[in-house]
Symmetry: C2
Subunit: 131 residues, 2 copies
């Protein structure tokens, strides 16, 4: 398929797909006229990339992990494994912080709700729960 179709299937813009290739995240074969062609497998790969982006990994980091996905071997696995473990831990820490923040938002909402019933509730105190 050509780039337009891949874009339509993945919901990622044509511009971004070309950017991914530029960053080494995606490869394509070229037609005689120079147009990019992709296989169905690339749809999955783009989804994969999107998930990692959503997890806060930069293209630079993703490109370090991809060799393991593409061709698992000892040479690249050593570096990639360490990187993955590192990113996994960062992700775990991030998730915990987000949960904490969500809890605080909940508390803030509850405090506001309380204020409606009892005008003397103090929302500001909630800010303390963030520290």
């Amino acid at each position: 398929m050509r780039i337009g179709e891949l874009a339509a299937r993945t919901g990622v813009s044509v511009r971004s797909l070309r950017y991914y290739e530029e960053q080494g995240l995606l490869t394509s074969t070229r037609s005689a006229g120079g147009q990019r062609h992709y296989t169905d497998a690339e749809v999955e790969r783009v989804a994969f990339i999107q998930h990692l982006y959503a997890a806060g990994l930069s293209s630079r980091t993703i490109v370090e992990l991809l060799p393991c996905v593409d061709s698992p071997s000892h040479d690249n696995s050593d570096a990639a494994m360490e990187r993955m473990a590192q990113e996994r831990d960062r992700l775990s820490a991030h998730i915990e912080k987000l949960q904490h923040t969500r809890d605080a938002l909940d508390a803030l909402m509850a405090a506001n709700q309380a204020h409606r019933d009892t005008p003397r509730a103090n929302c500001s105190a909630m800010a303390a729960s963030f520290v």
Copy 2:
């Protein structure tokens, strides 16, 4: 305290603190000479702001929620409550996606580990778990 001390206490750069003020997230009193002065309460407030930033809220969004924290009243609570509920839900969805991504990273690592033991394991298949 002056801006340098607030920066030191919060770990946020002086530049950022001035930016927060510019965005309406933070206020300060000024000395006769024009220098910003803060109370201890601002330390908490900056931490609060940082948490919301980390949760992916933009300064524009944060500024919408702050009135509720500052002076809870019906006028602003209606809008702010809705905004908070909305952001809370967005945050929940994001957390779930991150957990999913973390699981996938774990699977990828496990597959690589398996490859070390049994060279025929296929890491690429793991990408499918993202879709």
